[in-house]
C-alpha cells in the first residue's frame, strides 16, 4: 500500500506510466512485425512523431497557461500553403517566405492571446474564429495558393533516408530533439517559462504578484501559432502541393498527444510529456496499421485506447475533494 502511494507520488513528478505504455506499444509493434531494426521500427515512428510533436508544442504552452488553441490547424495550413505557393509558384527565397509565415503566425496568435486575456473571452471560441479568418482570408485572396510545391532540400530534410551529420536519423528528428530540449529548458529553467506556469496555476495570484499575465498570454499564443506554422513549413517538404485539410490531422491528434502526455490545464505538465504523448499517439497508429485495420477501425481503437491510457493517470479530482 505504502509503495503504491510512493509510486503515485512519483507518477505526479515523472511520466512513468507514459514511458511504460510507450515501451509496451513499441515492443508490440516490433513483435508483430518481427523486426526490431532501427530503420524499420524506431526511425519511422520518430519521423512521424516529430511533426506531431512540433505541432503540439504550442498547444502544450497554451494549455499550461490555462487556455486552449484550436487554431493550430489553421496556422499549420497557412505555413504549408504560403511556403509551397511563394517558393513553388512565385520563386521567393525560402527564408523570406518562412519569415512571412512566422510574422503572420506571431501577429495572429498574439492577437488571440491578447483578446482572450483582455476581454476574458473563451479561448476555444476565439481560436476557432481566428482559424476561420486566417485560412479564409489567405485562400480567399489567392486561390493559386492551392497548387504550389515545396523546395527540394526540404524534402530531404524530412525524408527518412537522409541522415544528420552522419547520424542515422532524419534532420527533422534531430531538429525535434533540439526543439524539445530548448522548449524544456525555457519552460523549467527560465523566468519566462516560470511565468507561464504561474499565470496558469493562479491567474489572479500572478497578477497580484506583479507578473504581467497578459504578456504571458500573448507570448504563449504567439509561440503556439509560430510552432504550428513551423510544422506547416516543414510539412511543405513532406507533401507536394498545398492542402487546406493538412491541418486536421494535427489538431485533434495534437490535443490527444498533450492529454496523453499528462499536461493539464493550469500549470501541470511540461513539453517532454507531450513528446512522449506524440510518440504514444504515433505508435498507436502503427499498432493499428500492423493489425491491418482500416481507417474506421483505427479511429475506434484510437478513441478507446486514449480513454484507457487517460484512465490510468489523467482523471479529475472528485467533487468532494473540491469542496
Amino acid at each position: 500500500m505504502n509503495q503504491l502511494r510512493k509510486l503515485s507520488g512519483l507518477q505526479k513528478r515523472y511520466p512513468l506510466l507514459q514511458i511504460v505504455v510507450l515501451v509496451l506499444l513499441v515492443l508490440y509493434v516490433g513483435q508483430q512485425d518481427g523486426d526490431f531494426t532501427w530503420n524499420d521500427l524506431f526511425a519511422p515512428i520518430l519521423l512521424q512523431a516529430s511533426f506531431l510533436g512540433i505541432a503540439a508544442a504550442g498547444q502544450t504552452l497554451v494549455i499550461l497557461v490555462g487556455g486552449l488553441d484550436f487554431s493550430i490547424a489553421a496556422y499549420l495550413v497557412a505555413g504549408n500553403l504560403l511556403v509551397t505557393h511563394l517558393v513553388g509558384n512565385e520563386h521567393w527565397n525560402f527564408g523570406a517566405a518562412a519569415l512571412l509565415v512566422f510574422a503572420i503566425c506571431v501577429v495572429g496568435g498574439g492577437f488571440s492571446g491578447w483578446i482572450c486575456h483582455r476581454f476574458k473571452l473563451e479561448p476555444l471560441v476565439i481560436t476557432l474564429a481566428m482559424s476561420s479568418i486566417v485560412v479564409g482570408a489567405l485562400v480567399g485572396t489567392n486561390t493559386s495558393l492551392l497548387n504550389g510545391s515545396g523546395p527540394g532540400w526540404l524534402q530531404s530534410f524530412t525524408s527518412q533516408t537522409s541522415d544528420t551529420f552522419g547520424l542515422p536519423i532524419a534532420p527533422i528528428i534531430a531538429f525535434w530533439i533540439v526543439l524539445a530540449i530548448a522548449v524544456t529548458v525555457v519552460l523549467l529553467r527560465t523566468p519566462v517559462g516560470r511565468k507561464l506556469y504561474l499565470a496558469g496555476a493562479g491567474p489572479k495570484s500572478a497578477d497580484l504578484a506583479g507578473i504581467r499575465t497578459r504578456r504571458v498570454w500573448v507570448a504563449a499564443y504567439a509561440a503556439s501559432a509560430l510552432l504550428a506554422g513551423l510544422a506547416g513549413v516543414l510539412l511543405a517538404g513532406f507533401s507536394t502541393g498545398g492542402d487546406t485539410n493538412v491541418g486536421n490531422s494535427y489538431l485533434f491528434p495534437g490535443l490527444a498527444a498533450v492529454i496523453v502526455g499528462g499536461t493539464m490545464m493550469g500549470g501541470r505538465g511540461d513539453y517532454l510529456r507531450t513528446c512522449l504523448g506524440a510518440l504514444i499517439v504515433t505508435t498507436l497508429n502503427f499498432v493499428i496499421s500492423v493489425n491491418n485495420l482500416n481507417a474506421s477501425a483505427a479511429s475506434i481503437v484510437f478513441g478507446v485506447l486514449i480513454l484507457l491510457v487517460v484512465a490510468l493517470y489523467g482523471r479529475e479530482r472528485r467533487l468532494r475533494d473540491r469542496v
Partner: protein, 826 residues
C-alpha cells in the same frame, strides 16, 4: 440517549441535556496525512457548541464528515440516538444536519430566491410539502433573510449583486430554510459585518430554544465567548477536551489548542518614532515605521481603498500587496512552496538567464526561519501546508521584493492563533526596522493589539481616524456606525452597505439575463440584409429550404448546449459525429433493412443519441474524465463506426422522411424539428431541472453542498444533448436523403456547433444561457453564409467573415456581461 423518537422535544429548555449528535472516535486520513485521528464530541439539544483548534487540527475535516462530504475511516456518528453515515450532503441535510462552509457559497448568476432553495428539489421533481409551494417559499425566504439582515434584499436580483456579507448571510439562510436540528457554522461569521453577526447569534439562540443545536467554528475568541455554551478543542486531529463557558478562558483554550506551547508575545512598546512620509494622499500620510489599520463594517470601501494605495506611491517606492483571498489571489496551488515564494522575484535567482534552484532555496531558507514557517521540503506543493503557513509563505514572497510599504488585506483571516501571533510579531519587527505597513483587518482585537493608527471607513471613504491613545474597543465600534446616535444606526448598517449597490442599468441587466436577445437582434438584422439583397428570400419555398438547411446546424448547436450549461469544463465535441452516426443508423440499419415507420425510426434515433450522450455523461461525471478528453475519444469512436458502416454515402429515403425535408401538413419540416427541443426544454424549465443545471454550472461546489446530485444532473444534461443530436441525425437524413460519414463533411459541424452556442450568448464556462440562444446563433451563421453567397463572395471569404462576426459577437456579449458584473460588484 434518552429520546427514542426523533421528533422535536416539546419543552424548549428541558431539552438541554438531550444528546442530539454524538461523534465517537472519528478518524480520517487523506493519503499519508492523518487529518483526524480520534475525535469525539457530544452536542446537546439546546446548546451552542464551539469547536476550536489551530489550523490543520482537523476542524474542517470533522465538519466535512458531518456534512456528508467525506466518509470517516473509523468511528461512528449518532444523530438523536441513531447511527448515521451520510453518503453525501443531500443525505446529511435530509437527516437534519445543515452546514454553512467557510468559503462563501452562492450561485452568482441566479436569483437570491433560487439560491435560497437550491438543493431542496429533486432533479426533475419539485419537492412538495408544508411551506414549499412557490408563494410560501418566497415568504419564508424573505422572513429568514430579514431575520439575518434586518431588511430583505430584492429576492429576484442575482445573488452576485449582493455584498460579501449579504452573500454569506444568504448561505446561512439557505441552511436555516432546511429546518435543521443541527446547524454547523464553519467560520461562517468571518465575512459578516458586526450587526449581521449579532442577528445571526439571535437566530442561533432561537434555534437552540426550539431544541436544536449549533456547532460553531470560529477563530475569534470574542465570538466564542459571546455565543458558546461549551467549547471543544481539537489538537492534531484529536479532541483534547470540552469546557463549559465559565471554564473557557483564553489562557486555558490556548493551552489546550497548542498543547502547552507558550505563545511568545513580543513587546509591543519598543518602537521608534515614525520616520518620513513614504506614501501620501487620500486622507493618509503613511510614515516609515508605522502600522496603520483599516477598519469598518464589511463593504464600506476599505477594500478598494487599500488596493488603490499602491498606485499613489512614488515610482521609486516599492510597494508590496498581500491579497485577501488566499486560495484565489495569493497562492499557486499546483506549484511548490519554493516556486510560490519566488513568484514576484524570479529575476533574483536568474544566473545567465537560467533560474538557480540553489539560490532560490537559500533565499527562502532565510525567510523560513524568520517567519517560523513549518514545512517538510520546499519542493512540496504549497497545498500541503496549513492555511497559516501558506499565508506566511505569501508574506515572505512580498517581503522578498524588499518593499518600503507593505499593504496587507486581512492577512490573518482564517489562520490559527499561533500563526496569528507569529504574524503580529513579524509585523512589529518590520515596522521597527522602518517599513511602513497598512493592514486591513476585520477583527477589532487585531486593531487594538497592533495598530499605531486606525482609519475607520463608512460609506466608501475613511470617516474617522483613531490614534493609539484613543484606540479602544468601544471607540472603534462606535465609529463603525458613525459617532452620532450609534444605537439607532446599528440596525440600519446593512441597508447602508447595500444602498451603495446601484441598481444596474436595466437594459444591461436584461441583456445579461436574457442572453438570447443579442443573437436575436443580430439574426433579425441579417434577415433584413438577406431580404434586401435577395427579395426571393421572403418567398414561401425559400422559407421551406431555409428551415431544411438550418435544421441540422440548429439542432447540433442546441445539442451542444446542455453539456456547456452544466459547467465544470463541460463540452461535447462528439455531437457532430453522433448525428452523422445516427444518420448512418437510420439509412443502413433501419431503412436498409426495410424498417421505415416513423414511429420506429424517430424514437430509435433519439434514443440512440441519448444513449451515447449518457455514456459521455457517465464517463465525465462518474469516470472523472475531462469533458474534452472523453468526448474527443467518443468523437474518434463514432467517426470510426460511421465510416465503417458507410464508407461511401448511403442513400435512401421514405415518405415521411422526404416530407420532413420539405413540409409536413403545410408546416416546414425543419421548423417542426427545431421546435421539438425548444418545447421539451420549455417543459423542463417548469421542473427544477434547468434551474438546477444552471446552478451546477454557476457554482458546482455550492450546488453540491446544498444537496444537489451534481453528477446526475450533469449526466442528464449530456443525455438530453445526445437526444437532440439524434434528432439532428433525422434532420440531416431528411435534408440529404443519404448518410455521409466522410470526416471532411463532419469536422466543420463540430466547430460550427460550438461557435453557434457561443454566438447565442451561452457562457462556455457554464451557468448562463439556453437552447433558444444557440438556435439563434446557428441562424446567424447560416444567414451570414447565405448573404455572402448571394453577394457572390467566395466561400473562403465567407469563412473569414463568419470568424470575424464570431469574435465581435462574443466580445459584445462579454462586454454587456462584464458591464453588468462591474455595476453589480459595486
Amino acid at each position: 440517549m434518552d429520546t427514542m423518537t426523533p421528533t422535536e422535544p416539546a419543552a424548549p429548555r428541558a431539552s438541554a441535556t438531550t444528546l442530539l449528535l454524538t461523534v465517537d472516535g472519528l478518524a480520517k486520513s487523506f493519503g499519508p496525512t492523518k487529518a483526524l485521528r480520534a475525535c469525539s464530541l457530544e452536542l446537546r439539544g439546546g446548546e451552542v457548541h464551539a469547536l476550536m483548534g489551530e489550523n490543520g487540527s482537523g476542524k474542517s475535516t470533522l465538519v466535512k464528515i458531518l456534512a456528508g462530504v467525506h466518509r470517516p475511516d473509523t468511528g461512528r456518528i449518532e444523530l438523536a440516538g441513531r447511527a448515521v453515515a451520510p453518503r453525501g450532503p443531500r443525505e446529511a441535510i435530509g437527516s437534519g444536519v445543515a452546514t454553512v462552509f467557510q468559503e462563501v457559497q452562492c450561485v452568482a448568476q441566479q436569483s437570491v430566491l433560487d439560491n435560497l432553495w437550491l438543493g431542496t428539489d429533486g432533479v426533475v421533481r419539485r419537492a412538495r410539502g408544508a411551506g414549499l409551494d412557490p408563494e410560501e417559499r418566497r415568504a419564508r425566504a424573505g422572513q429568514v433573510l430579514t431575520e439575518l439582515l434586518g431588511t430583505c434584499p430584492d429576492l429576484d436580483a442575482p445573488a452576485g449583486t449582493l455584498s460579501l456579507s449579504e452573500r454569506q448571510a444568504l448561505a446561512i439562510a439557505r441552511s436555516l430554510l432546511r429546518d435543521p436540528r443541527v446547524l454547523i457554522l464553519d467560520e461562517a461569521t468571518s465575512a459578516l459585518d458586526v450587526a449581521t453577526r449579532d442577528r445571526l447569534f439571535a437566530v442561533c439562540r432561537a434555534l437552540t430554544a426550539r431544541g436544536g443545536a449549533v456547532l460553531f467554528i470560529s477563530h475569534r475568541m470574542d465570538e466564542v465567548e459571546q455565543i458558546a455554551d461549551r467549547v471543544t478543542v481539537l489538537r492534531s486531529g484529536e479532541s483534547v477536551g470540552t469546557l463549559t463557558q465559565d471554564q473557557a478562558d483564553i489562557a486555558t483554550l490556548v493551552h489546550l489548542m497548542t498543547g502547552g506551547e507558550a505563545l511568545v508575545q513580543s513587546e509591543a512598546a519598543e518602537r521608534p518614532e515614525p520616520g518620513e512620509v513614504v506614501l501620501a494622499g487620500d486622507g493618509l500620510n503613511l510614515r516609515a515605521g508605522e502600522i496603520i489599520g483599516l477598519a469598518g463594517l464589511e463593504g464600506q470601501g476599505q477594500d478598494d481603498y487599500l488596493r488603490a494605495l499602491g498606485a499613489l506611491a512614488d515610482p521609486g517606492t516599492r510597494v508590496a500587496y498581500v491579497a485577501r483571498d488566499r486560495r484565489e489571489e495569493s497562492i499557486f496551488p499546483p506549484l511548490s512552496i519554493r516556486e510560490n515564494f519566488t513568484a514576484s522575484t524570479l529575476n533574483q535567482d536568474a544566473r545567465g538567464g537560467l533560474i538557480s534552484t540553489a539560490r532560490a532555496r537559500a533565499r527562502f531558507d532565510a525567510y523560513r526561519d524568520k517567519l517560523k514557517i513549518r514545512l517538510g521540503k520546499d519542493g512540496d506543493a504549497i497545498t500541503t501546508l496549513s492555511g497559516g503557513n501558506q499565508q506566511k509563505v505569501v508574506i515572505a514572497r512580498a517581503l522578498a521584493g524588499d518593499p518600503r510599504v507593505l499593504l496587507l488585506n486581512d492577512p490573518t483571516r482564517g489562520i490559527d492563533i499561533g500563526a496569528k501571533h507569529d504574524v503580529y510579531a513579524l509585523l512589529r519587527d518590520l515596522a521597527a526596522s522602518g517599513m511602513a505597513i497598512v493592514m486591513l483587518s476585520t477583527e477589532v482585537d487585531e486593531h487594538l493589539e497592533l495598530m499605531d493608527r486606525v482609519l475607520v471607513f463608512r460609506e466608501g471613504a475613511p470617516a474617522a481616524e483613531l490614534d493609539r491613545a484613543n484606540l479602544s474597543r468601544s471607540a472603534l465600534v462606535t465609529e463603525f456606525f458613525g459617532p452620532a446616535d450609534a444605537e439607532q444606526t446599528e440596525t440600519d448598517a446593512a441597508p447602508v452597505a447595500r444602498q451603495a449597490v446601484k441598481p444596474p442599468n436595466r437594459f444591461a441587466r436584461l441583456l445579461a439575463e436574457r442572453t438570447w436577445i443579442f443573437p436575436a437582434l443580430l439574426a433579425v438584422a441579417l434577415l433584413i440584409a438577406n431580404v434586401v439583397e435577395q427579395h426571393s428570400f421572403l418567398e414561401w419555398h425559400s422559407w421551406i429550404l431555409t428551415f431544411a438547411e438550418l435544421a441540422t446546424p440548429g439542432l447540433a448547436a442546441m445539442a451542444s448546449t446542455p453539456a456547456i450549461l452544466g459547467g465544470g469544463g463541460g463540452i461535447d465535441i462528439s455531437v457532430a459525429p453522433l448525428f452523422v452516426m445516427v444518420s448512418v443508423v437510420v439509412e443502413v440499419m433501419l431503412l436498409g433493412n426495410g424498417i421505415s415507420s416513423a414511429a420506429v425510426v424517430i424514437p430509435a434515433a433519439i434514443l440512440f443519441g441519448a444513449a451515447v450522450g449518457a455514456v459521455n455523461g457517465v464517463l465525465i461525471n462518474y469516470g472523472r474524465y475531462q469533458a474534452v478528453v472523453a468526448t474527443l475519444c467518443m468523437n474518434f469512436i463514432l467517426s470510426g463506426f460511421a465510416l465503417g458502416y458507410a464508407p461511401s454515402p448511403v442513400s435512401g429515403t421514405t415518405g415521411w422522411l422526404t416530407s420532413l425535408g420539405s413540409t409536413v401538413g403545410g408546416v416546414p419540416g425543419g421548423l417542426i424539428l427545431l421546435a421539438v427541443p425548444l418545447l421539451v426544454w420549455a417543459l423542463l424549465g417548469r421542473t427544477p431541472f434547468v434551474r438546477t443545471l444552471c446552478a451546477v454550472g454557476g457554482s458546482e461546489v455550492t450546488a453540491y453542498t446544498a444537496g444537489v446530485n451534481v453528477p446526475l444532473v450533469r449526466t442528464l444534461g449530456y443525455t438530453i444533448g445526445g437526444g437532440i443530436a439524434g434528432l439532428a441525425g433525422i434532420a440531416i437524413t431528411a435534408q440529404l436523403h443519404q448518410a455521409e460519414a466522410d470526416t471532411g463533411f463532419v469536422t466543420p459541424f463540430i466547430l460550427l456547433a460550438i461557435a453557434a452556442v457561443a454566438l447565442g450568448g451561452t457562457s462556455l464556462a457554464g451557468g448562463r444561457g439556453g437552447l433558444l440562444g444557440s438556435l439563434l446563433g446557428a441562424a446567424v451563421i447560416f444567414l451570414i453564409e447565405n448573404l455572402l453567397g448571394a453577394l457572390h463572395i467566395s466561400s473562403f471569404w465567407s469563412q473569414a467573415v463568419y470568424g470575424t462576426t464570431l469574435i465581435v459577437a462574443v466580445l459584445f456579449a462579454a462586454r454587456t456581461a462584464a458591464d453588468f458584473g462591474r455595476k453589480a460588484a459595486r
